[in-house]
């Protein structure tokens, strides 16, 4: 795990964790590292012994902490060949966390995130249009509409990400899928935390998703790529607007 100066002093933190003697403290600290971007989605956590040392707890306590994260769907643990614990989802940020994150990112950085997302997203849509067979599209259509039935911002964000990941799955490229997993964990929480939930945003996202599905279903790679690019652009602009309005209210 990478560490930064912004983190609490390791010894002090270790002592605190030890005193609490609680797997949840460890789970929260690891989750926090993910929220802060110190650990990215798709990354493998360091070996248990190393992590336990880092947090100054017994390996048994750390294991319980990992079990808590598994329950929350934040990490998965595989044994064997490609074994280890992997980050599969960034914890959904609180309003304060996402506000801080938006303040810390410049518009230029958000634009760059948009550019990268469009590049990966539109290619996955194009390839999905070329490679997916009709039977696989029922599932995609189902996922396209699940953003409007999700009961909370966190579940809507998950549903939104899941749709984009499914497009990448249908593109049949593991590299693009891994890139999409990482991009989704960056952009989507910001979108749902700040801009949309409760407004008419979910419906408009659903409409855009369905346009993408229609283009993929028609086998028109250009149209699918275009629909995806427009959709990601709209998403990113919501986030940039949210960032700009934060700056207005704080000045």
């Amino acid at each position: 795990m990478r560490t930064t100066g912004a983190e609490p002093h390791p010894a002090a933190a270790a002592e605190e964790a030890q005193q609490a003697g609680n797997a949840h403290v460890i789970a929260d600290r690891i989750a926090n590292s993910i929220s802060l971007g110190l650990l990215a989605v798709g990354e493998r956590l360091p070996p248990e012994i190393e992590l336990a040392q880092q947090f100054g707890v017994a390996v048994a306590t750390l294991r319980k902490g990992l079990a808590v994260l598994r329950e929350r769907g934040i990490v998965v643990t595989h044994r064997g060949r490609s074994g280890g614990s992997f980050v599969v989802k960034a914890p959904f940020p609180s309003d304060a966390e996402s506000e801080n994150r938006l303040r810390s990112l410049s518009v230029v950085e958000l634009r760059d995130l948009r550019d990268h997302s469009i590049s990966v997203g539109s290619t996955t849509a194009r390839l999905a249009a070329e490679r997916a067979w009709d039977g696989a599209l029922a599932r995609l259509r189902e996922l396209a509409t699940s953003v409007t039935t999700a009961p909370t911002a966190a579940t809507a964000a998950s549903a939104d990400s899941r749709f984009h990941i499914e497009v990448a799955v249908l593109a049949q490229s593991r590299r693009l899928m891994n890139a999409e997993l990482e991009l989704q964990s960056e952009l989507t929480p910001l979108l749902w935390a700040q801009s949309l939930f409760g407004g008419g945003g979910a419906r408009s996202i659903q409409e855009q998703h369905l346009r993408i599905v229609d283009a993929i279903a028609s086998g028109d790679g250009d149209a699918a790529a275009r629909a995806m690019a427009e959709h990601i652009s709209a998403d990113a602009h919501c986030v940039i607007d949210a960032k700009l309005s934060l700056e207005v209210t704080s000045s």
Partner: protein
């Protein structure tokens, strides 16, 4: 990984799968070799499945639900899977995927064994809780839909098994029945890169372009950059000869110049 152009199992297959194509003309020997590869692959799956079913039947009684069946059969399935993976270097994982019980909140039940770096096997843990965030909703996947109930052999893929083993694979499936009723399906995963290593030597025997295409028109493997694995094609529009490998039980067609 085996570099020999052998089918999943090294022993030569005696059966000639598709003696005649639709025009009544005997296919060239290159097509026969591919046909034998798939025939052998499914024959090996059938043998594996029969052993799984026999073991499950001995380990359980007819009243047991799939949860109990999987638990009682685990050791035997592991042992047989380990042997299969040792004998079939191209196979990546094997096991039994059970139909979800109607009761008990319909938790998924899978006994799946994956190859290890150290010649061992390990059980693969899937997300099997339907209300979980990473639920592996396998009853909606093509291999389950096409094989369970119908009992037919099926080749699914190529596909990225997201939330499953997360690899780019094809899956060969057959139905498993225990105490006289279908309980699930037995499957073999082959990574696309390994399938390519197996089939490329056979495809390169063709004098011109040749490819294997699934029922959905997805290319499984070919000897040309004009048809790459994952591409979707309409075989009829390629202007190539077509030979379906029906007798092998594989839903695959050879197209060749």
């Amino acid at each position: 990984m085996s570099s020999s152009p052998s089918p999943l199992e090294a022993a030569p297959a005696a059966e000639l799968a598709d003696p005649l194509d639709e025009s009544g003309v005997a296919p060239p020997p290159e097509v026969d070799a591919l046909s034998r590869w798939f025939t052998r692959a499914f024959a090996d799956l059938d043998t594996l499945n029969a052993d799984f079913c026999e073991h499950l039947e001995k380990a359980s009684s007819p009243e047991d639900d799939v949860v109990a069946l999987a638990r009682l059969g685990r050791d035997g399935i592991k042992k047989r899977s380990k042997r299969f993976l040792a004998e079939h270097p191209a196979a990546d994982g094997v096991g039994v995927i059970f139909a979800r019980a109607a009761d008990a909140e319909g938790r998924g039940v899978i006994e799946w064994w994956e190859r290890d770096a150290s010649l061992g096997v390990h059980r693969y843990a899937f997300g099997l809780n339907p209300s979980g965030d990473r639920f592996y909703d396998y009853e909606k996947i093509e291999w389950f839909v096409m094989t369970f109930g119908s009992g037919q052999h099926w080749i699914t893929g190529p596909y990225i098994d997201y939330l499953g083993v997360d690899e780019y694979v094809v899956t060969l499936t057959a139905q498993s029945s225990v105490h006289g009723r279908p309980v699930g399906i037995a499957g073999v995963d082959i990574k696309m890169s390994d399938l390519e290593r197996e089939l490329l030597p056979l495809l390169q025997r063709f004098p011109g372009r040749a490819a294997l295409v699934t029922t959905h028109g997805s290319v499984l493997a070919s000897n040309t950059s004009s048809l790459i694995a994952g591409d979707r094609v309409r075989p009829a529009e390629l202007g190539l000869k077509e030979h379906p490998l029906r007798a092998s039980g594989a839903s695959v067609t050879v197209v060749y110049e």
